[in-house]
Symmetry: C2
Subunit: 190 residues, 2 copies
DNA sequence: TGCTAAACGGAGCAATGCTCCGTATATGCG
DNA sequence: CGCATATACGGAGCATTGCTCCGTTTAGCA
């Protein structure tokens, strides 16, 4: 899962696959406990692998962070159909949004990493959206069809409203400030 | 300025005062170039002081970051009366907001530090507000009196709109999600 | 000028990121 | 099953960095 795009059909040796799983699981735990800057040695020790093994699979810390992130996105997105099968549409939606809010809450410090400019994170926003938007759309659609909620809600808007992972470059900020100043002036001439 | 609250009337020796200024100036430069995680050695070297000197004055990195932050807040706030003296009210306001936007832009990565929970940062938000709110209020008032802008703008709202340094605890997030879900349901029964 | 408290500075230790390479083993083949 | 070999493993070791400790220097004062 880490760099599967490089060799799409690569055949990981069995022990290598076990190591990768162990590392991802250990990293998830350690990141949650100590943040994404936790010592690599600690992750390797918890996973029961050597430093070499960890660095071979995830050459940069960002690679590991990104892999763990994808894993948690997958888990959260997968909760949507599960909840939809178990609960009434409105209930399923409410529970999933809480689940999603929990996911966002565990990402403290990660939004900073997202904006670090590391190329390993480049695909994450798209992955995030591609995973969550259909999941939420399904829940919203079901709830709307059941007459429990309105229909005029864009899934992505809702995702953003709960967890704002937005960025803003300098030029954008400048234009926004200009806009606000213009806005201030507008009402003055009455 | 660093820990002046501990000994309000302390008399710093002349060389100590020079060292502190040199460190703050060097830290400002290095932080801007390499972020707030830059090596302490680099700051000490640029300031022309030893490690001991730096650590004696700023025992924790957060102390140094906070001191640099206050210094830059002071500089930005001080620009308000200067601009007000040089330009027409509307111009002064627009220019200061751009200046403020630049200040915010240099704080990349610092918002993460702000939320790190380090007690050295506890007083910074209040300092931020206490410095900028009166400065902006003066500019807004002058521009409004000149008929160049509306009067119904709260200075703090404007500050927040440009640089959102907001935080949100878990309970708050939870209540917000509940509110949004309620909001979704509200329009369904028509 | 001489004394002393204050300040200085950098060697050195511990923690951590990351590499390198000798060792171990999973897998395919005869 | 036994062997050959590519694949994977593991941790010693080096470089960097945070932080401390203490011998040396100096500013302020009489």
């Amino acid at each position: 899962m880490a760099d599967a795009r490089q060799k799409p059909n690569r055949q990981l040796r069995a022990d290598a696959q076990r190591s990768e799983d162990a590392v991802l699981e250990a990293a998830r735990t350690v990141f949650a406990a100590s943040g994404v800057d936790a010592p690599v040695r600690e992750i390797a020790a918890r996973a029961g692998v050597g430093m070499g093994t960890l660095y071979r699979r995830f050459p940069k810390r960002a690679d590991l962070v990104a892999a763990v992130f994808r894993r948690e996105v997958d888990a959260c997105a997968a909760a949507a159909p599960a909840l939809a099968a178990e609960y009434a549409p409105g209930q399923a939606l409410a529970r999933w949004l809480q689940r999603y809010a929990e996911f966002i809450a565990t990402k403290t410090g990660l939004s900073a990493a997202l904006h670090s400019g590391d190329p390993a994170f480049d695909t994450l926003p798209a992955y995030f959206r591609a995973s969550f938007e259909p999941a939420l759309a399904m829940l919203l659609d079901a709830a709307a069809s059941a007459g429990e909620i309105r229909r005029d809600i864009a899934p992505y808007d809702l995702l953003r409203a709960i967890g704002n992972l937005s960025v803003a470059d300098q030029a954008h900020t400048r234009r926004m400030v200009d806009l606000i100043v213009d806005g201030l002036r507008f009402g003055a001439a009455e």
